[in-house]
Symmetry: D2
Subunit: 109 residues, 4 copies
């Protein structure tokens, strides 16, 4: 079993011990992910990156990832596969020649 499968198994176990699958429809999982993303952002509010509390970043990032993995599990997505596919797709949207050293959205390149 690889790392991602192992993490998802731990998340599913945690969820099922609490009988929470009933609440975990994809829409609410997407809400939960957004809420945690907002809490992650809070670590950086009113300050430069260097002053963000590393423990807060670590914990909120872990929460974001937990809901991302649970959402993947819900749809039976293979996390590695969807990520590598998206990287390929982004490579077409952001060709090296046009985007090197440029932080613009592909629609503005």
């Amino acid at each position: 079993m690889n790392d991602i499968e192992e993490i998802i198994q731990a998340l599913v176990e945690f969820r099922d011990e609490r009988d929470w699958a009933q609440f975990h429809n994809p829409k609410d999982l997407a809400l939960a992910l957004n809420i945690e993303a907002g809490e992650l952002l809070e670590a950086f509010l009113w300050k430069p990156s260097e002053q963000a509390g590393i423990d807060k970043v670590k914990e909120e990032l872990a929460d974001v990832l937990a809901f991302a993995f649970l959402l993947a599990e819900k749809y039976d997505f293979n996390v590695k596969q969807i990520m590598l596919e998206k990287i390929e797709k982004n490579a077409l949207k952001y060709p090296v020649g046009k985007s090197k050293g440029v932080a613009k959205k592909y629609t503005d390149l």
Copy 2:
């Protein structure tokens, strides 16, 4: 090399070919993650989970995960470790006895 390391390597390669590390400070990575989380949420807007477009969910989720992994890489976090540690921590906040079948925040249990 495990699967998470493999994905992070692909993300870092994509980033470095474009010379984007200069933009990827933690604060802006957290912003990017939030923006993608919003785009994921858009897949569910004005509709129940069942009507969400699966390809849109797949792609936006992959984008959220990409920025989450890049942020982990920036801090040199071990993704598996921080997630398993957070699950343990959440187990204390949400004891099975109190939280079984209950969708309340730990502060309201």
Copy 3:
């Protein structure tokens, strides 16, 4: 009629001409507001405030405000009243003596 009432009337008219009240339940309005907030954030991604495109900020901020006002309308909240009440409440959480010149959350003061 004051200006907030006037804006809400224009929003409601826009909504009703399109027969969209059926989609505008509070939960989905909160989703829409979050999606627009993410688009606003995009104006600042990978750059300092000074480089954010002012037209993008203006339009996304107007969208955030539109969903905020529509949500207020849904609950029949008086926007001015709830805002002035919240300012009073925040004044208790952030007493001048403790919070002057300090960008900390009230829980950390």
Copy 4:
């Protein structure tokens, strides 16, 4: 003085008494707005609209609006004007004939 001006004046007074203008650059105001939008979303997590706590909605919505108004103030935007202009712009993107009773994004109409 109209309602919006009155609210903004109260917000600016609250900010200045605490000497917080130094932290309130537009980028961080946009972060703060997103964080509050996430807290608003939390009122609806794992439940239908009807079960959302009205006081939580009220307070978080007030916080979202506070940062939206402070951002408008920072750019010297006239809130009413930018909102009415955006409604006009949206009317072009969503013509009544195409969008009546249809909850699709303008790009999919």
